[in-house]
Amino acid sequence: MYPVWEVPVLTSGIILGLIAAFHILPSHLSTSLMWFNVIFERKAYKENKPEYLEFIKKNTLLLLIFAYIFGSLTGVGIWFSATLANPKGLSALIHNYVWGWATEWCFFIMEVLAIYIYYYSFGRVSPKTHLKIGYIFAFASWISMVIIVGILAFQLTPGKWLETGNFFDGFFNPTYFPQLLVRTFYMFAIGGLFALAVASRIKNIEARAKISKFSAGLGILGLILGSIFINWYIKMLPENSLKIFSDLKFTGLYKLGQYSVLLILLYFIFVYLKPRWVHIIPSILFIIIAFGGIWSGERLREIARKPYVIRSVMYSNQIISGDIPSKNVKSEIQKFNESGLLSNFILKDSIFKEGAIEDKMLKGRILAQIQCVSCHCLQRKGLRPLPVLLERVGAKSEDEISGILDMLQGYSFMPPFVGTEEEKQALSLYLSSLTKGGK
């Protein structure tokens, strides 16, 4: 067992969430914006409208700078922050899907080369060759989404993989196609917003209006179809996910998502009707609103997976919860309940030597770090603060907290406590020290 990086107040889980949600903006921009480019580049050559080329050039620079500085680095950032919040979970994903990621990387190679060469070869190669480079980028970028969705959806619904352990059974799992379609259509809405921001800077008024109208139209289509496919996605969610949603009522997150989609839809309709009125300030404002919508969608997707990092396989606190006979993987629950979680802690030899193992408080502290801190902060103020949550349910003393730890078995969104009775007492002692009126 690895420790988890403890971030006071915020938690390492939310750092991962923030980086991952931010990553959606440049990554979905990257997957969608080139389609706008190839469409308008074809039009420019076919209809002899060189004024469209200004839009394409500006789009490309936006892709180069925004998508390739922030997209590529936040992509790496997801790995880094996942390492810090849930190393064993990331390890399990990588050991099952390393060739998925490696395949995605092949498409990154095509994307990066294509975007630079597309930019530098503007007007200097034949239109056909330039368009081919554009298509390589557009396809490669979208395919990178085709791949990563397989891994993301696998976490939520591993499906048949639980029996077979087969790469492709896990990849094409029950929520794969609905999620891919939702993201594919919504990406055109995100791309549409960026395209409006870019179009608003074009000097030629006619071209600006035509591009804005088209982008808003594509955005409307993307939002409507994406929203339709969300219903299919919800239908494919496991029962436990729906139970969490109905038990916990994430009204704020739902509203954030719904209002963002609605507001953006209204903006697209407005621009569609009045394309000459497109302006940079509202366009940027709506990109910020889109971030709110993305935050809501991504958080709800994460919540739907609770209490697992891979459903039925690994809890969000890194403990393997189920057997996968085809992979020779066994649940760790019984083993840890009998022999102790700390006896499997990576630093057990160096931290607990020379009698320190007797230090009950230290043991409790480390158990809290392994089992609690990726989601809960240990301070009174912050994200899901453990001291306050315990006080709210009236658990302050060791015995009361120990009772709560026993009750975790019955929660739909929390993993159960795993460890020996002695470890439970150590964790209760430590948590009790955090509460007012506790030890």
């Binding site: 680095l73 060739w99 490696a102 080369l113 298509y135 395919i143 630093l347």
Partner: protein, 383 residues
């Protein structure tokens, strides 16, 4: 020590891929690192030829940076696959520095764009980028060393640690630092070779090739010295001196030195000899680094031979086929840019470029169709 899900293919495949991709990654990292400093340094000079050279570097830096990150993804993936236990532990010991690493690179990357795109951009943009990239280099250096010293892990971590950089080996760091200037020197030499093909003014070609070779030569020697320093400090029990990869590296270094000395009179005369020797040397050094890591880890009882296996060939095949497609598209795009660079006016399509471009696009469409078809069949079957 080993992930319960095991490896989907033999560890040697991951090691080979990791060494190869790391070699390309480190070439571009080195190039970006030293070039950001040299672009700034030449920018400070008043002579026009230095200003022009600075602009060439500025222009190249954003794409070099991008390729460095792109090529870093693969070794980062493979290190997590075979050295997961060591890599993840080391990462957690340095928590906050991983996040700072990301911000440092984002700022450096943005600054390098500003440095290139803005006319008369402030010179400090180059210097700050260099400092930030150096910081990122230090973080990665520390992560790679922390993972080797398992016996010290207890000192590296405590429950409320926000993350620390626990260990730093100056000789090892300098070995990479000097290499970056050597590679940047070689890049200038390559630039001169390319300019000569474009029939650029001979004075510029001469200036860049001579300066490039000088920087390349001096820093290669310094790198060799730091390499010997490192070699001396490797625990004697490993007998690393007699490792066949160490001996091969030394021999290749001497061959490179020989060509560099010969090239001093006419830098471009031995360009191909130098390029090939250098590339082989870099791969050999990267492989040697991997063998040294294995020796360190064996001490702590970690061996890739013990890693459980859950072999699955079809997914590996998916990667290989996609990799071939990526090579095809890469050859097409590099042919376009190479041809483009040689002329100032618009270039015409050759049949080679035309066919390769069409094949690449068709390949991508076929990829989508085959994977989607396979996906639908599996999806419906499993419902």
């Amino acid at each position: 020590m080993y992930d319960a899900f095991g490896l989907p293919i033999y560890p040697i495949i991951f090691q080979i891929l990791m060494v190869l991709t790391f070699s390309i990654h480190i070439i571009f990292v080195n190039l970006t690192w030293a070039s950001s400093f040299l672009a700034f340094y030449f920018d400070l000079k008043k002579e026009e030829k230095y200003k022009k050279l600075s602009f060439t570097l500025k222009r190249a830096l954003p794409s070099l940076f991008s390729v460095a990150i792109l090529m870093g993804i693969a070794p980062l993936l493979f290190i997590q696959t075979i050295y997961d236990y060591l890599w993840y532990s080391s990462n957690i010991f340095s928590g906050i520095y991983l996040i700072l690493f990301l911000f440092a690179l984002m700022i450096a990357f943005s600054f390098l764009y500003l440095y290139y795109l803005k006319e008369n951009s402030p010179k400090w943009l180059g210097a700050v980028s260099f400092i930030l990239i150096s910081f990122a280099g230090i973080v990665i250096h520390v992560l790679n060393i922390q993972m080797l010293y398992m016996s010290k892990w207890g000192q590296f971590w405590h429950p409320s640690s926000f993350g620390k950089l626990n260990i730093f080996e100056i000789y090892r760091f300098l070995h990479f630092f000097f290499a970056s200037f050597a590679i940047a020197g070689f890049f200038m030499l390559t630039n001169a070779w390319y300019l000569k093909k474009r029939n650029t003014d001979e004075e510029i070609v001469k200036f860049r090739s001579e300066l490039g070779l000088k920087i390349f030569f001096i820093f290669t020697i310094l790198q060799a010295i730091s390499g010997i320093w490192w070699l001396v400090l490797v625990p004697g029990k490993f007998k690393f001196y007699f490792n066949h990869l160490t001996i091969t590296s030394i021999v290749l270094f001497l061959v490179l030195l020989h060509f560099m000395l010969k090239a001093l009179k006419n830098p471009l005369k031995y360009f191909y000899h130098i390029s090939i020797t250098l590339f082989v040397l870099i791969i050999t050094m990267a492989a040697n680094r991997e063998s040294l890591r294995a020796l360190f880890l064996k001490e702590s009882g970690f061996s890739l031979k013990d890693y459980p296996l859950n072999i699955h060939f079809p997914s590996f095949l998916l990667f290989l086929i996609t990799f071939l497609l990526a090579i095809l598209a890469t050859i097409f795009m590099l042919s376009v840019i190479f041809k483009l660079g040689l002329k100032k006016e618009e270039v015409e399509d050759t049949p080679f470029i035309k066919n390769l471009g069409s094949l690449s696009v068709i390949g991508l469409i076929l990829w989508v169709l085959i994977v989607a078809g396979l996906g639908v069949i599996i999806y419906v079957k499993n419902l």
